[in-house]
Amino acid sequence: MLPFALGMTELPLTALLACPVLGALLLGLLGHYRIGADLNVAVSAATTACALWLAVQVARGATVLAYDELFFIDSLNVFLVTLTAFVGLTTSIFSRPYMRIERDQGRMTGPRMRLFHAMYQLFLAMMLFALTTNNLGVLWVAMEAATLCTVLLVSVYRTPAALEAAWKYFILCGVGIAQALFGTLLLYLAADRVIGSGEGALLWTHLNAVKTQLEPTILSLAFVFLLLGYGTKTGLVPVHHWLPDAHAEGPTPISAVLSGLLLNVALYAILRCKVLADGALGNGLPGRAMVVFGLMSVLLAAFLLHRQRDIKRMFAYSSIEHMGLITFAFGLGGPIANFGGLLHMTMHSLTKSAIFFAVGHAAQKAGTQVMDEIRGLVQISPTVGWGLMLGTLAILGMPPFGVFASEFLILTSAMRQLPWAAPLLLLALAVAFAAILARVQPMVFGETNVKRLPHPPALVPVFTHLGLCLALGLFIPPFLVNWYMRAANLVGG
């Protein structure tokens, strides 16, 4: 790498990682004051600015190393960094009025607000660390830390259900992440034979350079452990049990970032490991394993959707379905399926967090998360109602929203590469469509039973996300296409 390139990346990278860490410290002191929510937005905005700065710096697409190779930036992770920082910002904007209403209703207190704000920033920081680090051990540490940050946020309401959800989240993700650690260990063992021991043997760029020489026996076992471990955090069936509970019982901003961001980061970890395992094995086994897990997740989640009564649980199952679809796409491999997977990651993040924003306000208006008791949202507040309706249509893959484009790409490549899987996917998508639409329609239209909120809801984040999803469904600018294509190439076949 050229020396000037190092300086140009290290500065925005340092700022990117420092913003949320310092923000967490600051909010740990001031988070319980009214200004805490504004500070949260300000820190997130600064993080987003740094992410964009970084993205511009590395826009030409080369892999850039920083800090003695401890961090690296390429097209794949810089796109997720930008997405993470952006959704982190909009969620902080949403949480400002949302958490204020929760506090007025007595569900949040001063110390809990401080915990919420500080942990929110720390959670974002850990995800950004996980995305930018070059060291697979540090990636594991950051993923585990991100889990720990959110455990106390899931249980923040201290209700029995919230405590149960958080306990399940901690134990199941703890077991999952331990499997990932064992996988990382095996990876290190394989690297040790080629590179020699020391820090260098866990650096992804070093491993990638020698991936064809890594011992296949060790790598296949390592990939199984890594897929199961990080797959637990991605919410893949059959290790998904924590996900619906954690999404339903935590505060809605946390549901939005868990669904929109954490699942993506865990999948990113799987992708990095898949590249190495593919190189070492050369027989497409990792891809096939991902196809199987992805397909199981899509099918099971789609058929469980219609049994849900809680609105946040239903959309949590929808997240499992979509993460399954993305895992399936990357499992297929090849430039088009990878492109579809990356596009779907973006679209799902934007749309699902927008839905959770609308759902959060809808549940506050109705005073419940039970779907049968939420009726006629459009009559009292057309914006929240339409936000929920449009978001639902978008996530169900209706054109012209961007989810349609990405699902279309994934389906067509499935038809070409794995013809027997395509009807199963179509069936699951149809079942999900019927189940979700039948639930959401009476909630939005019809006789109303909801009340007005004491503070105006945050609608800017909802419609910004849906607007972006619509815009990308209609037209993807060429620079973005190039960016995605470079990232898709990095994931490989």
Partner: protein
């Protein structure tokens, strides 16, 4: 002397395996903490041993950190937690003892089979113990699954972390220092969060029995 030390790694591995079996059948919470402390001590001894034999000095640092965290700090915190929460009484396992033992033996056979091709490829002096390490990890899983109370589950979680550390020492002479420190930090942070969390459960249910936690169902 060297031969003796090399042999003693196998001894430590055997002790770890016995301790893991003792943990899955032990019903008193306080004894579980003692077993956990003994496990930590064995881990320290094994790490020092491998460190001396391979002249890898970073393993001494790792052993010191393990000693401070897993032999001193965590047991003290666990004792305090038990005292404050008054949970010295017996634990009701979900599976009876003979059945648990049988499942444990099957797990050990499975782990040895899984680890043998990998161990053959490792260049570490302690490679023959990789199977034991994997077996301990799986036994800790079993403990977490079969226990109904929150505290034994946490001890199961911590013992799983111990077994993973042993696996790292056995297979690769320890992970890089940066990673080990990060893992230690995560364990400590996780334990502190769990401590806070158990008080919340206690406050809400007046018991640490996670059977109370079954309102949320699978679907």
């Amino acid at each position: 002397m060297i031969a003796l030390l090399t042999q003693s790694i196998n001894l430590f591995a055997a002790i770890l395996l016995i301790l893991a079996f003792a943990m899955i059948t032990q019903r008193r919470v306080l004894n579980l903490v003692h077993l956990f402390t003994a496990q930590g001590l064995t881990l320290v001894a094994a790490t020092l041993d491998v460190g001396y034999l391979t002249a890898q000095h970073h393993l001494y640092v790792s052993a010191a950190a393990t000693f401070a965290l897993k032999v001193v700090l965590l047991p003290i915190l666990l004792h305090r937690l038990i005292g404050r929460l008054q949970v010295r009484w017996d634990v009701e396992p979900l599976l009876n003892t003979p059945l648990t033992m049988l499942a444990g033996i099957l797990l050990v056979v499975f782990a040895f089979n899984l680890a043998s091709p990998i161990a053959a490829l490792s260049s570490s002096i302690a490679r023959s113990t990789l199977g034991v390490a994997l077996a301990s990890v799986l036994l800790s899983f079993l403990m977490m699954i079969t226990r109904a109370k929150a505290l034994p589950q946490v001890i199961g979680f911590l013992s799983m972390e111990n077994s993973l550390f042993f696996a790292a020492t056995a297979a690769t002479n320890g992970m890089p220092m940066l990673v080990e420190l990060g893992i230690a930090l995560d364990v400590l942070m996780g334990f502190l969060i769990l401590g806070v969390f158990m008080f919340q459960i206690r406050e809400q249910f007046d018991s640490l029995d996670i059977h109370h936690l079954e309102r949320l169902r699978e679907d």
